[in-house]
Amino acid sequence: MVLYMIKFPNINIGRILILVTVLTWLGLLFVDLLRLFGTVNRMNLGIAHEITWTLEIIFFVLVYLFYSRSIERSEQNNFIQLIWRAASTGLIVIGVAFLIRVFYILLDDTRLSTDPLLGNFFYHVNFGLTTLFLISCSLLWKKLILYQKNKNTVQQWQIYEVMLLVSMFYVYFNQNTFDFTFLFGLVFLLIFGVIISVNLKWIPYLTFKDKWKSILFFVIILITTSFLFMQSLSHQSHHAEINLMDNLFLMGLFGFVFVYSLFSFLVTLFNLPTSSVFEQKLTEAINFQKLSQSIQPGQSETQVLDILVDSCMSAAYADAAWLEIVDEENQLQILHQRFVTNMDRKEIKALMDKNKVFSSFLSLRKPSATDHVNSGVEHDLYKSALVVPIWVNKSLLGYLFLLKEVKNGFNKEMLNIVTTFVGQASISVENHRLLNEAIKNERYKEELKIAQRVQRSLLPSALHHNSHFDIFGFSEAADEVGGDYYETYQFDENRFALIIGDVSGKGLSAAFNMSQMKGVFHSLVQLDLSPKEFLSKANNALSSCLAKNLFITTTYYLIDTAKATITFCRAGHCPTLYYDSKAGEAGYITLEGMGLGILRSDKYPEYLHEKTIHYQPGDILVMYTDGIIESKDQNGEEFGYERLKEVLNTYKDQSPEKIKNHLIQAVYEFVGEAALPDDDYSLMVLKFLEQH
C-alpha cells in the first residue's frame, strides 16, 4: 500500500509543475493586463508592483524546477544531444518571435496593431519563452560544466546558483530601476559567469563530425541570445511600467548563456585541427586494451597478431604492412598482409636482404638492445620501412613489417606506440601459451591421480595367514605411484605363497610394470609351482613385457605350516632378514639368485637357487625393499642392513604388527622430519606363533 502511494506523486509532479507554471504565467499576464487597462483608461487600480515581482520570481523558480527535473530524467546524455536541445529550444523561441513579427507586419496599420493590450500579451509571450530558453540553456550548460566533476567545479557552480537565486530577489531592492548597484550586481554576475564558463573539458571528446555540428548549434544559440536581448531592450522604451526583463536574474543569464556559447564555439573551432590527434589517441588506447585481453583457450594466437597488425598500421598511419612468423623449420611464413601486393612484398624483402642494416637485424635470433629497425628502402612505391621483431619468452615469434610511401615516414611517437603494441601482443601470446600449458598439466595431474588409485588397489588389503603365523605389511611410494609390490596367496589351510618385489625405477612407469608383475603372480601361483619353477616361468613371461633395460627383483616363498618349512628362491632381491629364536639372533639369509628380466633366455634358471628352512615358533621373517636400506639421513649416511637387523633384535618378542611399526619408526626417525622419501618403502613382517 505504501509503495503504491509513493509511486503516485512521481508521475504527476511533472504535470503539476507544468500546470502551476502556466498558471503563474497567466497570473503575471493578467496582472499586467489589468495594470495596463488601468493606465489606458486612466484608472488608478493600485496594483502593487510587488505582486508582479513575486509572481515573476515564482515563475522563474517553477521553470527552473521543471527543466532541472526534465533534463535530469532525460535519456539524452551525450554532448551533442544536449547542445541540440538548447539550439532547438532557441529555434522554437526565435520562430515564435518571428511569427509575431510577421503577424504584426500582416496587421500593418490596423487598429489591432497598436492595441496596447495585444502588445502586452505578446510581450508576455516573449518574456515566457525567453525565460524558458535562458533557464533551459543554463541547466544544459550545467550538465556540460559538471561533466568532469571535481570538488572545485561543483563548489563554483553551487555558489553561482546561490548568486542567481539572490539576483532574482534583487528586484525588491532596486525597484526595477537601472542604478549603480544594479550595474555592480550585473558585472559581478557576469565575471563569475565567465569564470565558470572555462569548464569546457567535454569538447575534446566530440568526434570531428560532432564538433562541426556543435559549432553550428552554438551559432544558432548565439544568434538567438543576441536577438532576444535586443528584443528585450527595445521593449524598454515602449511601456515603462511593464518591465519584466530588467530583472538582474535574466540579465545575468543572458550574459552566462552568451559567454558560455561563445567560449564553446571558439574552443571547438580551434580544436578542429587537433581533434584527429585526440581521436587517434583514443583509438590507440582501445586497441591496446584489445591486445591485452587474454586470448580464450579455444582461440588462436593469430587473432592477437591480426589485431596487432591493424593497430600498428593505424597508429603509424602506415600504407602497407605484413607479418611473418617463424615456423617449425625455422623458416619465415607470411601470416597477415595488408594493402601490399605479393610482388611488392618480395621486392622489398629482396632489397632488405641486400641492405646491411636490415639483413643483419633480421638474422638475429636472440633478443637484443635494439627492438626495431627503421630505415629507408629504395622501392618505387615505398620509401620507408619499419621492422619490429616479436619475441615470446626469448624466442622469436616473427617480424612485423610496416611500410610508408614517404621518406622518413616513421616518427618517434609512432615507433613508441608500435613497439608498445608489439610488447603487449607478445605478452598476450605468452599468457595464452602458459594457460594452455597449465591446462595440459592439470590433465596430466588428473591422470596421475587415476593411476594412483589403480595402483593402490593393486596392493593387498589383507594378508593371508592361519593360526600358525601372523603377518603385517607396510608400503609407501616416493611419488604418487610406486614400483614396490607384495602379495600373499593361500593354497590350502596349511600352504601359503608370499612374494615381495621391486620394479626398477619409480613413478608411473614402475607402477605399470608392477601391475604386470601382479598379473604374472596371479596366473602362475595357481600352478602351485616350486619357487624356482615359479621364478623361471615368471622370467619368461616378463621377458616379453619389460622394456630392454628394466628388471624386477623379487623373492618368492612357500610356507607349509604342517611341515613347518619355508621354501624360497631369491631373484636379485634384498636378502631376507630372519630372526632365529633358537639362536636368539637375527641375520640375513644368503642365497644366490639373479633378478628377473636380466637374462632373457632359457639359461636363466641356472642362476636361481632354492633353499628350505625349518622354522620354530617365535621365528620372524622380515621381507623388505631396498628403499628402506638405502634411505639417507641428513649427512648422507644410509640406514643400512645393520640398523634394520638391530631393530629386529630389539623388538623380537613383540607382535609382528608392533615390530613392523618399530621398523618403520626407526627408518623415519633416522631419515629425519624434513626429508622426503627418495625411493618406495615396503615391508612385510611375519612371525610364527606358539602353538597350544
Binding site: S504, N549, L550, F551, T553, G572, H573, G595, L599, Y607
Partner: protein, 114 residues
C-alpha cells in the same frame, strides 16, 4: 653428478666413472658405452673406483648391452668397485654375467688370458 672419461690404452678402451649414476644421467652412461662399442673396441674396461653409487637405472644400462657384448664377442670388465657398489651387483646377480674384478691388474690379467 657424473663424469665419464674415455682413455685408449694398449689393447683396450678404458671408461672411468666418477660420481653417481641415477635415472637423471644414466643416458650419459648409455651413450658412452654405445660410442665405444660403435668404434669397434673388443676389449672394454670400466674403472669404478670413483663410482659412489649406482641406481637401478644405471644397472639397467649395463644389463641392456649384455646381449650385444655376447654377439660381438666383446670382453667387458668392471674393476675397482667399492664394497658397497660391488654388493649391489652381487645381490642382483649381475656379477654372474659381467666380470667384476677388484683391481686393474686382475682385470688386465683376465683379458690377457682370454
Amino acid at each position: 653428478m657424473l663424469t665419464i672419461s674415455k682413455k685408449q690404452e694398449d689393447n683396450h678402451m678404458l671408461l672411468l666413472l666418477d660420481g653417481q649414476v641415477d635415472a637423471s644421467n644414466s643416458v650419459e652412461l648409455d651413450e658412452a658405452i654405445h660410442e665405444v662399442v660403435g668404434q669397434g673396441h673388443k676389449k672394454i674396461l670400466v674403472d669404478g673406483s670413483e663410482l659412489a653409487y649406482i641406481s637401478s637405472a644405471g644397472l639397467g644400462v649395463f644389463m641392456s648391452y649384455l646381449e650385444e657384448f655376447e654377439e660381438q664377442g666383446i670382453h667387458f670388465l668392471i674393476y675397482g668397485l667399492s664394497e658397497k657398489v660391488a654388493n649391489v651387483f652381487h645381490i642382483l646377480g649381475l656379477d654372474q654375467l659381467i666380470t667384476i674384478k677388484s683391481s686393474k691388474e686382475e682385470a688386465l690379467e683376465t683379458i690377457h688370458e682370454a
